[in-house]
């Protein structure tokens, strides 16, 4: 399909009242998009521990919590590239607390998706930890999770609008 045909298809769908992005999608709460469980590390963890965990679980961010489980910091791939690589020779001797982003912006699961996106955009970060009212992490949301959710809702919206008759 060439560019012109694609545009014509978009216009045609919109003219038929297809809502390519369902209304109120941005009002949905972050908790409702299917929160991923966070990977947490204690404050005594070293950079080597964090690197091992990131490689083992194939994740790009780790939440650092105190003994009570409360969120104290976040350590991401970006922190690793900007603060550690080429600068720290002995990863096993360096504590994550010295390299993590301390006291990161966090949200509660009832906050809206629009607000979470706004926070990520203005703050320039890709992950937002989700905590409960005791500041204990219950999940983490990334820009990718939000985009995946939007695409899924767009597809769901298409099928919800019709009654298949075959």
């Amino acid at each position: 399909m060439d560019q012109k045909t694609l545009l014509s298809t978009i216009h045609s769908a919109c003219a038929r009242g297809v809502q390519l992005i369902p209304p109120n999608i941005l009002c949905a709460s972050i908790g409702s998009i299917g929160l991923k469980d966070p990977f947490t590390m204690p404050m005594t963890a070293t950079l080597q521990d964090c690197l091992d965990a990131m490689q083992k679980y194939k994740v790009g961010s780790l939440l650092v919590c105190d003994a009570e489980g409360k969120l104290k910091g976040i350590f991401t791939e970006r922190d690793f590239v900007m603060k550690v690589m080429g600068k720290v020779s002995n990863l096993a001797a360096a504590l994550v607390t010295d390299y993590m982003t301390k006291d990161p912006v966090r949200e509660q699961p009832e906050a809206s998706l629009a607000f979470a996106l706004s926070v990520m955009s203005h703050g320039g970060f890709r992950h937002v930890p989700i905590v409960d009212h005791e500041d204990i992490p219950i999940g983490i949301v990334s820009v990718k999770d939000v985009v995946d959710y939007f695409v899924q809702k767009m597809l769901d919206g298409i099928f919800d609008s019709i009654d298949i008759d075959v």
């Binding site: 399909m1 694609l6 298809t9 978009i10 045609s12 769908a13 038929r16 009242g17 297809v18 390519l20 209304p23 109120n24 009002c27 949905a28 709460s29 908790g31 409702s32 299917g34 929160l35 003994a67 009570e68 489980g69 699961p109 009832e110 809206s112 409960d132 009212h133 005791e134 219950i138 695409v151 767009m154 597809l155 298409i158 099928f159 609008s161 019709i162 009654d163 298949i164 008759d165 075959v166």
Partner: protein, 483 residues
């Protein structure tokens, strides 16, 4: 602080104290005459009188001895440390969606606020995850600096009552929490320890700036009036006990009932997939997939009903009534001969069934267009799909499968329309029934011919359009629906 041990020899004078929380041991050391001969082992030997080996901080001991050999003492230096008990955490319920809290909006407290869109609740579809119930944790005991255990405390379970609208997600293997899912569509509500999903949104007073516009997945009941300019969109029934005061848009996938007065307006409309019932209406534009019922009076309204308009005890003055099966009313028009039109359209194209199939085709075509957007060039060039990476290939293949499925469905619907057109049209049995008076100014019309009443006629009578002679005839009253 409490002194627990004293020791003195020719190399050192030692005093050990314990902190009030019994977790830390502090040493005070004064050098003796032969301090240069001080040994680590003799300090540890004294420490073991008070504490246990794993809690002793070896680095500190070495440093104290090194300092002592140089003739330096220390005062209040921590030399051993116990472990605090970790208390068990209480169980808790963590909501993943917003709960309905009247008067607690998401609007900013500064700058501009949109009081029409307050976002007081969140629409929850059946099957959606709504909350997590965290289990209590047992905690772990600690040890004081003297090696005695410090007991912990287990957390308490969270007591919440769930009704059948919420259930635990089956087949979940989590140790720390259980996920709760909604079994019905609605909004989340928590009152005391009772947690539920409400299928009907009940607004006990007026719908105004306190609630804003309503867009809800269930039914809506307004106990008071709907103030001017406020809209309601609902998947279930909408019931308004009071009045609708103008410029309102009411949309329901089921029925709409306005028990009081309904004022229309230039930007207002009523769309009910099933029926629309109103007490008194003025200037209302209403469309219903079923019947439209007027209890007392309708002035200058435009009603479009896919079945019938029923007003057996009501007065209809001015405006236009469109219906398929027919109309039944007490009084049509008034003494002032205000033009009041009743249009009977019993062609196949205006029947509820035909319109439903036609609407379904339209939606299918829109869905196909939207799917085309998602699939992109791979829809036309399916040979490229196997070359994609496995994850993307799976998604595109799935979407193409769905596209074909919708395509087959739309073809079937088109065949259905063709069959409906080919079939013999049902015998027209439409009529306009007047039980009271049909006033001068009343116009009865079909797509082909019409009749204007010049002199008022008393009922009960039936007006029936005869296709064969292209005229309206007056007949003895026959009810619109038998029984």
């Amino acid at each position: 602080m409490r002194v627990v041990h004293r020791f003195q020899n020719e190399r050192m004078q030692l005093e050990l104290s314990i902190s009030d929380d019994k977790l830390k041991l502090f040493a005070q050391v004064v050098p003796g005459e032969k301090h240069e001969d001080a040994q680590v082992s003799e300090l540890i030997e004294q420490l073991l009188q008070v504490t246990v080996e794993p809690l002793i901080e070896g680095v500190v001991v070495d440093d104290i001895i090194a300092q002592l050999r140089e003739g330096k003492g220390c005062e209040g230096r921590r030399i051993a440390k116990g472990e605090s008990p970790v208390l068990g955490r209480d169980g808790k319920l963590v909501w993943l969606v917003r709960r309905f809290k009247p008067g607690n909006s998401n609007q900013p407290t500064k700058e501009l606020s949109d009081f029409y869109n307050l976002g007081l609740f969140e629409n929850i579809e059946a099957g959606k995850e709504v909350a997590r119930l965290y289990k209590p944790t047992s905690g772990s005991p600690g040890m004081d600096v003297q090696g005695k255990p410090l007991p912990s405390r287990a957390g308490k379970a969270f007591n919440a009552r769930f009704d059948k609208t919420i259930q635990f997600k089956p087949d979940e293997s989590r140790d720390d929490y259980q996920t709760l899912i909604a079994t019905v569509s609605g909004y989340a509500h928590e009152e005391g320890d009772k947690v539920t999903i409400c299928e009907t949104l009940v607004i006990s007073n007026n719908l105004d700036y306190e609630m804003g516009h309503i867009d809800f997945v269930g039914g809506v009941k307004v106990g008071g009036d709907v103030q001017k300019g406020f809209h309601i969109k609902a998947r279930g029934d909408i019931e308004i006990v009071g009045s609708v005061l103008g410029e309102n848009q009411l949309t329901s996938d089921a029925s709409i009932i306005v028990r009081g007065f309904h004022q229309g307006g230039a930007e207002s409309f009523v769309r009910a997939r099933a029926n629309y019932t109103v007490g008194i209406a003025q200037g209302v534009q209403a469309e219903a997939g079923g019947t439209i019922s007027v209890k007392k009076e309708a002035r200058d309204c435009t009603f479009r009903a896919s079945v019938a308009v029923l007003a057996p005890e009501a007065i209809i003055v001015g405006g236009t009534v469109w219906c398929v099966k027919g109309f039944e009313g007490k009084q049509l028009g008034n003494d002032m001969a205000v033009r009041t039109v009743v249009e009977i359209r019993n062609e196949l194209e205006v029947t509820a069934e035909y319109r439903q199939v036609e609407e379904s085709i339209s939606k299918h075509e829109a869905a196909l267009a939207a799917l085309e957007l998602h699939i992109g060039p791979y829809l036309q060039n399916r040979k490229r799909v196997p070359l994609l990476n496995p994850k993307f290939r799976m998604k595109i293949t799935d979407l193409i499968g769905k596209y074909d499925y919708v395509q087959a469905s739309v073809e079937k619907l088109k065949e259905k329309i063709k069959a409906m057109k080919a079939a013999k049209p049902p015998e027209a049995d439409s009529r306009v029934n007047v039980t009271g008076v049909a006033h001068a100014g009343l116009v009865l019309s079909t797509s082909a011919f019409s009749l204007e009443i010049k002199d008022s006629q008393k009922g009960p009578i039936s007006y029936r359009p005869l296709e064969a002679s292209s005229e309206w005839v007056v007949q003895e009253y026959q009810p619109l629906f038998k029984g």
